[in-house]
C-alpha cells in the first residue's frame, strides 16, 4: 500500500492539483460524452415517434 492516510492520498505528494485535475478532467469529459449521446438518442426517438404518429393522423383523417 502506498498511502498512510487519506490526506496523504489527496495531496499526492504535493501534486494533488495536477493529478486530480487530470483524472477529474478525463472523468468529466467521459461523463459529458455519455450524457450527451443518451440525450441525443432520446431526442431522436422522440422526434421519430412524433413524425410517425402525425403521419398516421393525416392518413386516418383524410377522406377516402
Amino acid at each position: 500500500m502506498q498511502w498512510h492516510s487519506w490526506t496523504e492520498f489527496w495531496e499526492m505528494g504535493g501534486y494533488g492539483l495536477y493529478v486530480w485535475g487530470s483524472f477529474g478532467a478525463t472523468a468529466l469529459v467521459v461523463v459529458a460524452e455519455i450524457w450527451q449521446l443518451r440525450a441525443q438518442r432520446r431526442a431522436l426517438l422522440r422526434n421519430l415517434l412524433n413524425e410517425i404518429s402525425s403521419q398516421d393522423e393525416t392518413h386516418s383523417s383524410s377522406p377516402s
Binding site: 501534486y15 469529459v29 431522436l44
Partner: protein, 245 residues
C-alpha cells in the same frame, strides 16, 4: 467439411449495422468499466512512487491512453473515410463521423493532462514544442473535419469532402509519433519501445490496462454514436419506422 461463409458486406448496410452495433456496444462498455476499475486501482494503489517525479507521474495513467487514442482514432477515422471514397459505402462516412468527436475529445484531454503535467515538471503549461504543437494540429484537424461535414447539407457530399480532409490530415499522425525522435523536444521520449520498457513493471501494467480500457470505451461510444447517426440519416426509411415504433 462444412464451411461457414460470413457475409461481411451484409454489415455494410446501415440497417444491419444498426442492429449489430446495438448488440455489441454494451459488451465493450462492460469491458471498459471493468478495465477502468482495475486500471485505477493499479494507478493509485499498486504502482510505486516514481524516483524522479514523485506522485506527480501518476498523470501518465490518463495522459498516455488519451494521447494514444487521439492518434489511433484519427487513423481509423481516416481509414473509414478512405474506404468510403473507394467503395462508396454509406456506412463508412457514418463511422468516420461517429469517431471524430471522441477523437477530438481525446486530443483535447491529451493537451489538458499534458499541460497539468508540464506545469509542475517543466514549469510551463505550454511550450511550442514539436510534440505539443503537432498534437494541437491534430485537435484542429478533428474540429476541421467536423466543421466541414456540418457545413455541407447533403450528407453524402459532406462524407466525400471531409474524407479528403481526413486522408490528407493523416500525415500528421506519424509526425506526432516520431516528433520526439526527429526534433530535440522538451517532451520526453517513449518509455515503452520494441526493445523493452524503462518503467517499473506495475507502472507499465497499469498504463497498458488503462490504454485497453480507453480502447474499449472508444469502441463502445463509437458504436453508440453511429446508431444515432444512422437513425438521423435514415429517418425517412421504412425500416427505421419499424425499428422505433
Amino acid at each position: 467439411m462444412k464451411t461457414r461463409v460470413i457475409h461481411w458486406f451484409k454489415f455494410a448496410s446501415p440497417q444491419n449495422f444498426y442492429g449489430l452495433a446495438g448488440k455489441l456496444w454494451p459488451w465493450f462498455a462492460a469491458l471498459a468499466t471493468v478495465l477502468v476499475m482495475v486500471g485505477l486501482w493499479i494507478s493509485f494503489f499498486v504502482a510505486p512512487v516514481d524516483a524522479q517525479q514523485g506522485q506527480g507521474y501518476r498523470i501518465i495513467f490518463v495522459h498516455v491512453p488519451a494521447s494514444q487514442l487521439s492518434m489511433l482514432i484519427y487513423l481509423v477515422m481516416a481509414a473509414w473515410a478512405g474506404f468510403g471514397l473507394a467503395f462508396n459505402t454509406r456506412l463508412s462516412g457514418m463511422m468516420a463521423c461517429a469517431l471524430a468527436p471522441t477523437g477530438a475529445l481525446f486530443a483535447f484531454l491529451s493537451l489538458i493532462t499534458g499541460a497539468l503535467w508540464g506545469k509542475p515538471m517543466w514549469g510551463a503549461w505550454w511550450v511550442w514544442d514539436a510534440r505539443l504543437t503537432s498534437e494541437l494540429i491534430l485537435l484542429f484537424l478533428y474540429l476541421g473535419f467536423m466543421a466541414l461535414h456540418a457545413s455541407i447539407d447533403d450528407p453524402r457530399r459532406a462524407d466525400k469532402a471531409s474524407a479528403v480532409l481526413a486522408l490528407v490530415g493523416a500525415v500528421n499522425v506519424p509526425i506526432i509519433y516520431f516528433s520526439v525522435k526527429w526534433w530535440n523536444t522538451l517532451h520526453q521520449g517513449a518509455s515503452v519501445s520494441m526493445s523493452g520498457s524503462s518503467m517499473a513493471s506495475t507502472m507499465l501494467t497499469g498504463m497498458l490496462i488503462m490504454v485497453l480500457a480507453f480502447w474499449m470505451y472508444a469502441i463502445a461510444i463509437a458504436l453508440f454514436r453511429v446508431r444515432n447517426i444512422i437513425l438521423d440519416r435514415e429517418r425517412h426509411t421504412e425500416w427505421v419506422k419499424h425499428a422505433v415504433a
